[in-house]
Symmetry: C2
Subunit: 148 residues, 2 copies
DNA sequence: ATGACTATAAACCTATCTTTATATCGTCAT
DNA sequence: ATGACGATATAAAGATAGGTTTATAGTCAT
């Protein structure tokens, strides 16, 4: 449901939150602790720099760090560079072309509940919420069935 | 959320239900009507024969047809040959190893609601339900949050 | 009637292209 | 010089296409 790459991105960011605060964290270090293949992770982290989730500083003592506080980063932001289904609104999987909200195919509504469940999850859940080992700390309540 | 291939499989089966009943339908015909690349579809349909969803007869007048009544076929059956996430139970996307139902990470429960929503959908929804153009005709009610 | 021919259609095998996952090398900062 | 990011190449998987083989059913001449 979430691609390997997407999961790597999430896990790396979670680690950065836990490693909290001060110094930057090298890619190699994150890879070691999270069990993600080091070289591949470096590419992923690079993408997260491009979209503005991470900051990178090179050279000795450099590494990656979150650009904004984790309470302000939604999972959607971390995942969307890697999950095409989150970027372009995928069409109805049951019909060829002619299936919209206006003339829905059977199953359309039920499917949207599922799809929206996923989308709302990554859209409302913050990085802080999944990283803090304490209480759920849900910043925004999950609302279901929001119509598009 | 559902792979291209999985969507093709669903759409082809839906077409077979609509084309209802009697004669077998050639792969080329299905491809033409559903807009699915013909050669690729033939491979997909072959897979669906292997798992017992479809019957195939060769030669003139041959083609594909459903092996069982569509009210008896769950979407899960059609999708599982193509969606690895439906076959092997994917682990928690937020943590490395140590995250179970017993010691859940934050976000674990919310994520399971989303994941179960998807799984229950494909598990409960029948092919007939998404193919009949009339009322939803939901055979089994969707239950949510069933714990594993 | 019956064998041969032909049209039809699935099955199979391989080749290409795109996306995803991974490794190698180069570049920059201290 | 060394630690660490960055861009580029390779590998594997998913998606697509081409062509050949095999099986079946109808047709047609003898």
């Amino acid at each position: 449901m979430i691609s390997q790459t997407g999961q790597y991105a999430l896990r790396a960011c979670v680690y950065l939150v836990q490693q909290a605060g001060d110094a930057a964290c090298s890619g190699a270090r994150i890879a070691g602790r999270t069990g993600i293949p080091a070289k591949y992770l470096s590419k992923i982290l690079g993408d997260l720099v491009h979209v503005g989730v991470l900051d990178a500083t090179r050279g000795k003592g450099g590494g990656f760090r979150l650009r904004r506080p984790p309470t302000d980063i939604r999972l959607l932001e971390i995942l969307s560079p890697f999950e095409s289904s989150l970027r372009d609104d995928t069409a109805c999987p049951f019909r060829h072309g002619e299936c919209s909200s206006r003339s829905p195919c059977p199953g359309h509504d039920q499917w949207r509940i599922v799809k929206d469940g996923f989308r709302n999850f990554v859209q409302d859940m913050t990085l802080a919420a999944i990283a803090t080992s304490s209480a759920p700390a849900r910043t925004a309540p999950l609302r279901k069935g929001r119509r598009t």
